[in-house]
Assembly symmetry: C2
C-alpha cells in the first residue's frame, strides 16, 4: 500500500527548488500559462488562497476596515508624485496600451501597488478630522515585471490584499502599522501554523516611500527566509505631495499620517516550503481545503460505502471539510494522491476493520495511524484538528530555533550561513549590513527587539547599535 502508485516527485533534500515546483504542479495547486511569469491558480491552490482571504477579511472587518476597489491603472503623472516610491517601482513599469492610447501622451501604468490611487482618492474625500481615520483595504491583482519568476513566490502578476489607511495623528498611524503586523502574525499562529519572526526592516530593506517597514519573516525548510508580509508607516511622505489635508479640532489645516500593509499569494509558497515533505504537500488543518478524506477499501462492498457515506454526513454536520473518494481508482492510488495534496487526515474504511466496528485514521503530518471505533470518528477528528495544528506549529518553531545561530567571529559567517538558517548578529550600521550582503548574499531580515549580543560590531569592530537577523532569502 505504501508504494508510490502515481506521481513521483524530487526528494526534498536532494533539490529543494525542483521539489518545490514538483509539489506545486503535482498537488495541482497551479499550472503555467502560455505567458511566462503568469500562472493559473487551479481549484486546489485557489481554495487555499480563499481560506487565507476569508480569515483575513474577517479580521480586517473586525478591526474597522472597509473593502474598496481601485482601478487597474494609474495615470503616469500621478505615479510620479512621491519620488522614492516612483524610483522603487520604475524599473519594472508595465503599461496598458491600445491603438488609441498609443497615439496619446498620457501613459497608463498597470498598478504594481496602489498607494498613489488611494492617496488621490483620500485627497478628495478627506477634509475634516471627522472624516478620519479612513481604513480601506482591497483584494486585487497587481503586475510587476519580475525577471525571474517562481510559482507563488514571485510572478509578473500576483494576487494580494493591500490595506491603506489615513489618520489624524502620528501616534494612531504608528499603532495601525503595528496592529496589522499583529493580525498577520496571528494568522501565522492560527491558520498557517507558521511561526513568523516580526519586527522592523532596516533602512536598506524598507519599502520605497515608507518611514518604517515591518515584516513577518518565515524560515523555509531549506534554511532560506521568506518575507511573508509587510506593514508600512508612511508618516506624511505621501500626504504632503498628494495634499491630503484636514481641518483639525484646533481649526488648523494639517497633513494626515498614513500606513499601508499587504500579504500576497506568496503565503501559499510559505506553507509549501515550511510544512511539505518528500511525499508532497502537508497542510495545516485550518487552512486545508479538504480536512479529511475518506477512502473506502474494497468500495464494491455495500457496507463499506454505507459506512463511508455515514461518516461523511456526520463530519459535514460538524462543518468539517470532507471529501469521500469513491471513484474506481485503487486505494493505493488514492493514498498517494491525497498525501501529495497534504490532506491532514485520511479515514480508511475497510471490510476487515468494519467487522470489528472500527476504521483507521492516518495523519499526514507525522504518518501516525490510529484505530478508532466507528462511533468515535467524529469526536476523534474534532480533537485531532487542533492537536495537529498545534504540533505542526511547534515542529516549525523547533526548526526555526534549531536554525537560528549566533557566531563569535565574522569569519564564521560563511560556514554557518551555508548550512541555512538565521544568523543573529549585532552590527554597527548600514555599511556593515551592505558588507554582509556582498560577502555572503545574506540580507538583514529584521531588526530584533533584543539587547545587543556584543558591544562591538563583529563585521567592522565599530560600536554595535542594533541586533539583526540575517539570512539568505527568497
Amino acid at each position: 500500500m505504501s508504494k508510490k502508485f502515481v506521481k513521483d516527485i524530487t526528494l526534498r533534500d536532494e533539490d529543494f527548488a525542483l521539489w518545490y515546483t514538483d509539489v506545486c504542479l503535482k498537488a495541482e495547486l497551479m499550472d503555467y500559462s502560455a505567458v511566462a511569469g503568469f500562472i493559473i491558480y487551479r481549484p486546489y491552490g485557489f481554495a487555499i488562497w480563499e481560506n487565507i482571504k476569508s480569515y483575513l477579511d474577517k479580521e480586517f472587518k473586525k478591526t474597522g476596515h472597509e473593502n474598496v476597489y481601485m482601478p487597474l491603472v494609474i495615470a503616469e503623472n500621478l505615479f510620479q508624485k512621491e519620488k522614492d516610491h516612483v524610483e522603487g517601482f520604475a524599473p519594472e513599469s508595465v503599461y496598458l496600451t491600445t491603438d488609441a492610447t498609443s497615439k496619446s501622451d498620457e501613459k497608463l501604468i498597470v498598478r504594481p501597488t496602489s498607494e498613489v490611487l488611494f492617496c488621490e482618492h483620500y485627497r478628495k474625500i478627506v477634509s475634516s478630522y471627522r472624516d478620519l481615520p479612513k481604513k480601506y483595504n482591497q483584494w486585487c491583482n497587481v503586475v510587476r515585471w519580475e525577471k525571474t519568476t517562481r510559482p507563488f513566490l514571485r510572478g509578473k502578476e500576483f494576487l494580494w490584499q493591500e490595506g491603506h489607511t489615513v489618520h489624524a495623528t502620528e501616534e494612531e498611524a504608528r499603532k495601525e502599522a503595528l496592529d496589522m503586523l499583529g493580525v498577520y502574525n496571528d494568522m501565522g499562529k492560527n491558520l498557517l501554523a507558521i511561526p513568523f519572526i516580526t519586527g522592523r526592516k532596516t533602512e536598506l530593506e524598507k519599502f520605497a516611500g515608507a518611514d518604517e517597514t515591518y515584516t513577518i519573516e518565515a524560515l523555509m525548510h531549506d534554511g532560506k527566509a521568506l518575507q511573508s508580509g509587510t506593514t508600512h508607516y508612511f508618516g506624511q511622505n505621501f500626504s504632503v505631495p498628494f495634499e491630503i489635508t484636514f481641518q483639525d479640532r484646533d481649526n488648523q489645516l494639517k497633513h494626515a499620517y498614513q500606513t499601508s500593509w499587504g500579504v500576497t499569494t506568496r503565503l501559499i509558497g510559505a506553507v509549501i516550503m515550511v510544512h511539505g515533505d518528500d511525499d508532497g504537500l502537508v497542510l495545516p488543518p485550518y487552512l486545508a481545503p479538504i480536512q479529511t478524506v475518506i477512502v473506502p477499501i474494497q468500495s464494491q462492498r455495500e457496507e463499506v460505502i454505507a459506512a463511508s457515506n455515514k461518516i461523511k454526513e456526520l463530519l459535514e454536520k460538524e462543518n468539517i471539510r470532507v471529501r469521500l473518494d469513491d471513484s474506481d481508482k485503487t486505494p493505493g492510488w488514492k493514498f498517494s494522491e491525497y498525501e501529495m495534496k497534504g490532506v491532514p487526515i485520511r479515514v480508511e474504511v475497510g471490510p476487515r476493520d468494519l467487522k470489528e466496528n472500527k476504521v483507521t485514521l492516518a495523519l499526514r503530518y507525522n504518518r501516525e495511524k490510529i484505530q478508532c471505533n466507528l462511533d468515535d470518528v467524529v469526536p476523534t477528528i474534532k480533537k485531532l484538528i487542533p492537536e495537529i495544528h498545534e504540533k505542526m506549529y511547534k515542529r516549525a518553531l523547533e526548526h526555526v530555533k534549531k536554525h537560528t545561530h549566533t557566531i563569535n567571529d565574522y569569519s564564521e559567517f560563511g560556514k554557518v550561513i551555508a548550512k541555512g538558517g538565521y544568523i543573529k548578529m549585532s552590527i554597527a550600521g548600514e555599511e556593515e549590513e551592505l558588507k554582509v550582503k556582498e560577502d555572503h548574499q545574506a540580507t538583514a531580515r529584521v531588526i530584533l527587539n533584543e539587547p545587543l549580543l556584543t558591544e562591538k560590531c563583529l563585521v567592522s569592530g565599530k560600536k554595535a547599535t542594533k541586533t539583526i537577523l540575517f539570512a539568505r532569502a527568497y
Copy 2:
C-alpha cells in the same frame, strides 16, 4: 424634519441619466478616478458587490463549481484561434506592454473575457471522460476599451465572475447553460428584488463564439432594458480549434462541449435604476450593506443612547446588519443621508417615544412610518425584512407588466417605444429585426418562449416565426 439638509439630486423623471450619476456619487457608491472609464468602488458600493458575490459564490459551489484564477493577459496567437470570438472583441483590444515587450513580437492582450485561457488549460488537463465535467468559475477584473462609459453600466474596467465549463455531452452542456440562467434568475428573485425576463438571444445579439446565448433582462424605471447577465452554450466551437478532446467510454476520441456565463458589477446599476427614487437609492433588504440604521433623536440624552445601543445589540445578535449613527450631526441630516443610501429600515429613538416605551420605524421603499413597542423592535424588523423584499419585487414586477406592450400595426411602434418599456411582437426573421433596430433604435432583448401573437410579421408581412421582446436598451 423632511426638509433636505444635505444633498440634493436631480429629479428622477426630469433627467434620468443625471439622476443616475447623482445617486452613484452622492450615495457614495463610487467615484471617478483620474483615468476616464476606470471607476473607484467606494466602501458602500463595493459592499453591495460583496453581497452579490457572496450569494452567487455559495450557489456556484452548491452546484459543483470550483473557483480558479486565470492570468490577466492572453498571448495574441491564442486569442486568435476562434474566429468569431476574436472578431467580436478585436475592435477594443488592449495590450500590456513594457520596455521589454515592446521590442518583442509577442503581443499580450489584457483579458476582455477569458474563454481562450480556460480552453487552453482544459486542453491540457482533460483527456478522459473521467476528467469531465470540469466546472470552473473565476471572480476577476476585465478590460474593454469602451468609448462611452457610465458608472457600473459600462466601463473600461469592470468586475465580474465568469464561469467556464466542459462537458462530455451536448445534453449536459445545454443543461448547464440553462441551469446557470436559473441561478441568475433566482438571484433576481431572492436578492436583488428584480424580476428578470429570461430567454434566448437572437443570432444578431448573441455572444461572439456562442451557438446560443441566454439572457436575464431587466426593465429600468425609465423604460429602457438592461442586459443583466448572460449564459452561453458553445457546442464545440471552441473545443475544435483548441483541441479539447477526451477518450470517451466507448474509447472514441471526442471533442468536448462547453459553456460560459457571467454577471458583472453592472448589476449594481440595475438595482439603482429599478428601485431608486427622487431621494436616492432604495435597496432591497437582503442586498443592503446596512439593513437597519438607528438614529437617536436628542443624542445627548442618556436614555436615548442606552436604548439605541440596546436595540443595536439585539439586532446584531440576530445577524441583522445594523448601524447606529450617534455622530453629532443633526437627525435631519442623518435621515436624508440614509435615505440617499437606501437603507431599508430606520429606527428613530426619541425621548418622547421612549417615555411611552416606543420607537418609530421608517421604511425607505414606501415611506411608511410605524410605531412599535420597544420590546417588539427585533421581531418587527425580522418580519419586515422579507415583507419589504417581497413588496419591492412586486412593485418592480408591476412596472414591467405596465410597460410591456403589444401593437396591432408596425406604425404604432415608434409612439409606443418612445414612452419606454417593452414591445412584444412576432416577427419573421433577421431582416425584420434589423429594420426595427434601424427605425427605432430598439433591439431584440429576448426570444420569448410563447405562442405567436400574429400569424404574419407586423414589420414585413411575411410569415411570423418567433415572438420577440423589443426595447431600447443600455
